[in-house]
Amino acid sequence: MNAHAPVLAFEGVDAFYGAAHILHGVSFQVRAGESVAILGRNGVGKTTIVNTLLGIARHGAGAIRFHDRAIERPRPYQAARAGIGVALQGRKLFPNLSVRENLMLGAASNRAGAWTLDGVFDLFPVLRERAEAPGTALSGGQQQMLAIGRALMANPDLLVLDEPSEGLAPVIVDELAAVFGALNAKGTALLLIEQNLSLVERVSRRFAVLAKGRVVEEGSLDGIDRTSLQRHIAI
């Protein structure tokens, strides 16, 4: 795999919920083995990027490419099958399924790869201990681990993480940062949608800032002025 080939590319993408125009010409790339962060305040359209990729938000003008193939009219199930694993904002676990079943559902895309139930249990041993508990009976941090584990079960080339630190204690965020770093080091590209700058700095090398549905700043996180980024995130 070419280290510089984009895994995911948004090229001037507009997106809508009904008549509401949310994203305006959004462009960014995630290259193979790279971790890119999308930053921005609440309500600027960060999650709409994920929803557009999944076909939940309507994709208007512009192009979305995954492994250089245009995704014309995305449908939710196609993303996982194509190799995009998504840990959704709010975790979105199934309360009527056990931890084990939530994870097995993540393999519904039938993509072969290194991630299996045992692999996820080795990554997050607490999930093995609570395997038969309902998915939503876990603590917030454990639920986030389950959401990430479920996304990994799709053996994704790109892992999309939508606000994974939301509502979690700093010690759990530290643990997740280490996991994200390890996954990225093993070659999984990451798209990290976050407001937690400290997590972003530990996991990603490049960033794009979203404001009112537009990319207003992007670049490398190396040597960036932290206060300028903080300004875009602070409420």
Partner: protein, 282 residues
């Protein structure tokens, strides 16, 4: 008394076989299918016609397969385009389909009532303390229990069953995991329609076959699904057994209120527990 309880069990288990499809369809499509009684009626008529050539079991098979195909078509051609529409639209469309089905039956089979003989294998009676009971009625109980057991096994032990349970809770999030919920819904509606069709054939030897047969069973099936908890199979099973007993015992102890009792029970459950007995889907 034993006979009344057994008859209640017969009606309850039969009602579950009928209502289970309704619960499954609601879970996946969030559609209140007023045409479900029509599927039951079509199954009875298809089975009745096929049985003339191939006997009871041939009729049962034709009803199951024919209604499964019809169910898949119903999902693809009607339910899928109705996705996301307001409940009133889906209600009117499915109600319209029920009326069309009734006209279809009247056109091709007429308004007469038809009888349908039980299979020789299941004819006769069993001896019980101080009385006898028809073997065929016990076979209906076995059919209902088989449907309940089969669905429980399918939903809890198979990969597709896992997808059905997930999609019943949230079809979009299930799809994000890679589940093609459109294909899954077509399968589930096909299974639900096949169960309704089989229920039509199974009921035929003890109830008459007529174009009016859909209405009564539809009302009771809806009561079962509502009392059980919309989309919940476990709740529907419990509700069907309760309703079966209420229907039969009501005739004995409160004959003036028999017709009202199911509705009173539904009202009581909705006030006490608005989400139904199970309170969750599938």
């Amino acid at each position: 008394m034993l006979i009344q309880i057994l008859n209640g069990l017969v009606y309850g288990t039969f009602l579950f076989a009928m209502a289970s499809g309704l619960a499954l369809m609601f879970g996946l499509r969030r559609i209140v299918n007023f045409a479900h009684g029509a599927l039951y009626m079509l199954g009875a008529y298809f089975g009745y016609t096929a049985a003339k050539l191939a006997g009871f079991w041939g009729g049962l098979l034709v009803a199951a397969l024919g209604l499964a195909v019809l169910g898949v078509a119903l999902d693809i051609l009607v339910f899928r385009p109705l996705r996301g529409r307001d409940p009133l639209t889906t209600l009117l469309v499915t109600f319209g389909l029920a009326l069309i089905s009734e006209d279809f039956i009247q056109t091709f089979w007429g308004n007469d009532t038809h009888s349908f003989a039980e299979p020789a294998l299941l004819s006769g009676v069993v001896q019980l303390p101080g009385t006898t009971f028809p073997i065929y009625r016990l076979a209906i109980v076995a059919f209902g229990i088989l449907v309940a057991g089969g669905l429980a096994f399918w939903l809890t032990r198979s990969k597709v069953g896992l997808y059905v349970r997930a999609a019943s809770h949230d079809p979009v999030i299930a799809a994000v995991q890679g589940v093609d919920t459109d294909r899954l819904s077509a399968l589930v509606v096909g299974v639900g329609a096949a169960l309704a069709g089989m229920a039509g054939v199974v009921a035929a030897p003890i109830l008459s076959i007529s174009p009016a047969m859909a209405a009564d069973i539809l009302v009771d099936s809806f009561i079962v699904v509502v009392i059980g908890g919309l989309g919940s199979l476990g709740g529907a099973f419990a509700a069907a057994l309760i309703l079966g007993q209420i229907n039969v015992l009501g005739v004995v102890f409160l004959p003036e209120l028999t017709a009202l009792l199911p509705f009173l029970l539904m009202m009581a459950v909705l006030i006490w527990r608005p989400t139904g007995l199970a309170g969750s889907r599938v």
